[in-house]
Amino acid sequence: MSDITSKIDGWAPNPRAARRRRCDMLATLFGMAAAGILVLVLASILWTLLFNGLAGLSVAALIKPMGAPGSGGGLANAIIGSLIQTSIGLLIATPLGLGCGIYLAEYGSKLNRFASCVRFISDVLMSVPSILVGLFVYQVLVAPFGHFSGLAGSVALAILAVPIIVRTTEDMLRLVPVAMREAGAALGAPRWRVTVFLCLRAAKAGVTTGILLALARVSGETAPLLFTSLGNQNWSLSLNKPMASLPVTIYQYAGASYDDWVQLAWAGALLVTLGVLAINIAVRISARRG
C-alpha cells in the first residue's frame, strides 16, 4: 500500500512524469521548428518572387510583345494569350462541368451504374498528372491537324478544370435540402425548373467557388500547354496557330542564359502568382461572408 502511495505522490519527483514532460517539450520544439522551417521557406519563395519580379516588372514588360534577347521585349502577347486560353478553357469547362455535376447530383443515385462510372473517372482525373492531359490533347487535336494551336491549349486547360467543377457542383447540389425540392415540386414546377431555379440558385455560392478554384488551378498550369499551344514569340490572336502563354514563357525564359529574359520570367512568375493568389483570396473572403 505504501508502495503505491509513494508512486502516485504528486509532490515527490516522479521519473515518469518528468520523462513525459521532456517528451512534450521535445515534441513542442519539433512542432515549432517544423512550422518555423515551413514558414521561412515559403516566405523565402514569396520574397524571391517579389524581389526579382518587381525588378523585372515595368510598363514596357506589360505592353510590349516578346522579342529576341536584348531587344527590350515584353510579355504582352503571353499575357493576352494566357487570358484567351484560360477564358476559352473555362467557357468550355463550365457548362460541361455544371451539366455533369447536375446530372450526378440529381439523377445519379447509387444504383445508377453510368453515373458511378462518370463520378469515378472524374475523380481519377482530378489527380492525374497534368502533363498527361497535354499528351492526350496532342494526340487528339494537334497530331491529326499537323500544327499546334491555341484552341488545343484551351481544350487541355478545360479538361483539367472539368473534374474540379463537377466535384464541387455535385457536392454543393447535394447540400441543398430535399425539402426545397419537394416544395418546388409541390408548386407544380417541372423538375428542370426545380433544379435550375431552386437548387442551383441555392448552391450558387459554392458552385461559383468551384469554378473560381478551377480557374485558379488552371491559370498557372504549364505542362498541359507545352505540347498543345506550344508558345509563340509573335503577336498572334488566332486560335488556329501556336499561342503564347505566361507559364510556358516563364518556362522558356527562366532556363535561358540571357539576363533580360530571366528578369522577364520573374516578372511573369510574379504576375501568375498574384493572379492565382488573388482568385484564392477572393474565394475565401466571399466564402467567409456568405
Binding site: 514532460r21 517544423a34 519563395i45 472524374s122 482525373l125 499528351l135 417541372p190 512568375a269
Partner: protein, 324 residues
C-alpha cells in the same frame, strides 16, 4: 405562371394536360442535356486513359513488358526502357515525401495544439494559400535558390566530411552540379508540404474537443494528447493526406524539370543528375517526330505514370476508408 384570381382554378383539363405534356418534354430534354454532358465528360476523360495505353502500344510491342525495367534510353540506337525515369520518379518522390511528412505533421501539430488561435488562423490561411501557388514557381525558386545552395554548400560539406564513410560515400558521390535527386526531392517537399499541412490541420481539428479536453483533464501533456488521442483518431486522414501529396509529387513536371538535371541514368548518388517520367516527357516530346518509336515510348511512359498515379489514388481511398 401568375396566379390569376378566378380563371386559374377553372383551367380546363385539356390545357392542364398540355402544360403537363410540355413540362414532360422540357424535363426529358433537360435530362438528356445534363446526361449528355456527363457522357461527354466520361468519353473525354475515359478516352484520355485509354489513348495513353494505345499510343504506347508500339513501344510495348517492341520492347515487351521488359520496357518498364530496361535501363536504356538511347535515341541514337532507338532503344528505350523506362527504368531510369521510373527510378528517378520513385526516388525523388520518396525523398520529397519523407521530408514533407515530418514538416507537415509538425506544422499541423503546432497550428492545432500550440499556437494561439489568432496566429494559428493567420498561418493556417497562409499555408492554404501557398498550396495553390503554381508548381512552376516552385521550380523556378528551386532553380535559382536551392540548386546553387546545394552545389556550393550542402554537397561540398558532405563530400568533405563523409567521403570515406562506407555507406554514405556512394550516396553523395558526384560532381557538385547542384541538380539531382536530392534537390528535386527538396523542391517537391516544399511544394507538397503546404498541401499536406492544410489537410492534416483540417483532420486534426476534426477530433472532437471533448476527447482532447478529457485527456488534458487527466493531466496529459500536449504531446500525450497528440500521440494517444489525435493521431489514433485521425490516422486514416493523415495517411490519406500523405498519399495524396505523394500522388502530386509523382506526376509533377515543372517543379522537377528545372532541378533534376535530366540525365537518363540509374545510380546510388542522390547528387547526380537524373530524370523523372514527367520531366523526360516534357523535355523529349517536342523533339520526337510523329510516329517514331521514341514518341511511342514516351506515350508508354505516360501510361505507366498514369498507372502510378491511379495506384496512389486508390491507395489513398482505401487507407482513408471511404467508398465514395
Amino acid at each position: 405562371m401568375t396566379l390569376a384570381p378566378t380563371r386559374q382554378t377553372e383551367t380546363s383539363p385539356s390545357s392542364f394536360e398540355k402544360e403537363e405534356k410540355k413540362s414532360g418534354w422540357t424535363d426529358s430534354f433537360f435530362h438528356v442535356l445534363v446526361g449528355g454532358s456527363a457522357l461527354v465528360v466520361l468519353l473525354v476523360l475515359g478516352g484520355l486513359v485509354l489513348l495513353m495505353g494505345y499510343g504506347g502500344r508500339e513501344a510495348f510491342h517492341i520492347f515487351g513488358l521488359n520496357f518498364a525495367f530496361h535501363n536504356v534510353w538511347n535515341p541514337v540506337t532507338n532503344e528505350y526502357g523506362a527504368w531510369a525515369p521510373l527510378f528517378g520518379t520513385i526516388i525523388s518522390t520518396l525523398i520529397g515525401v519523407m521530408i514533407a511528412i515530418p514538416l507537415a505533421f509538425g506544422t499541423a501539430f503546432w497550428l492545432t495544439a500550440i499556437a494561439s488561435p489568432r496566429v494559428s488562423s493567420v498561418i493556417g490561411m497562409a499555408v492554404q494559400l501557398l498550396a495553390a501557388v503554381p508548381s512552376i514557381i516552385f521550380g523556378m525558386w528551386g532553380f535559382f535558390t536551392i540548386v546553387p545552395f546545394v552545389a556550393r554548400h550542402i554537397q561540398p560539406f558532405l563530400t568533405h566530411h563523409f567521403r570515406h564513410t562506407p555507406i554514405l560515400a556512394p550516396l553523395i558521390h558526384g560532381a557538385p552540379f547542384g541538380t539531382g535527386l536530392l534537390t528535386a526531392g527538396l523542391v517537391l517537399a516544399v511544394m507538397i508540404a503546404p498541401f499536406m499541412t492544410a489537410v492534416m490541420r483540417d483532420v486534426f481539428s476534426a477530433v472532437p474537443p471533448m476527447l482532447r479536453e478529457s485527456a488534458y483533464g487527466l493531466g496529459a501533456t500536449r504531446w500525450d494528447v497528440m500521440r494517444k488521442i489525435v493521431v489514433p483518431w485521425s490516422r486514416s486522414g493523415m495517411i490519406g493526406a500523405a498519399v495524396l501529396g505523394m500522388g502530386r509529387a509523382l506526376g509533377e513536371t515543372m517543379a522537377v524539370t528545372f532541378v533534376i538535371g535530366n540525365v537518363t541514368d540509374v545510380g546510388w548518388s542522390v547528387f547526380a543528375p537524373r530524370s523523372t517520367v514527367a520531366s523526360l516527357i516534357a523535355l523529349q516530346f517536342p523533339e520526337s517526330p510523329a510516329g517514331s518509336v521514341r514518341l511511342s515510348s514516351l506515350l508508354a511512359l505516360g501510361f505507366i505514370l498514369m498507372l502510378l498515379s491511379f495506384v496512389s489514388l486508390a491507395l489513398a481511398r482505401t487507407l482513408r476508408g471511404d467508398t465514395k
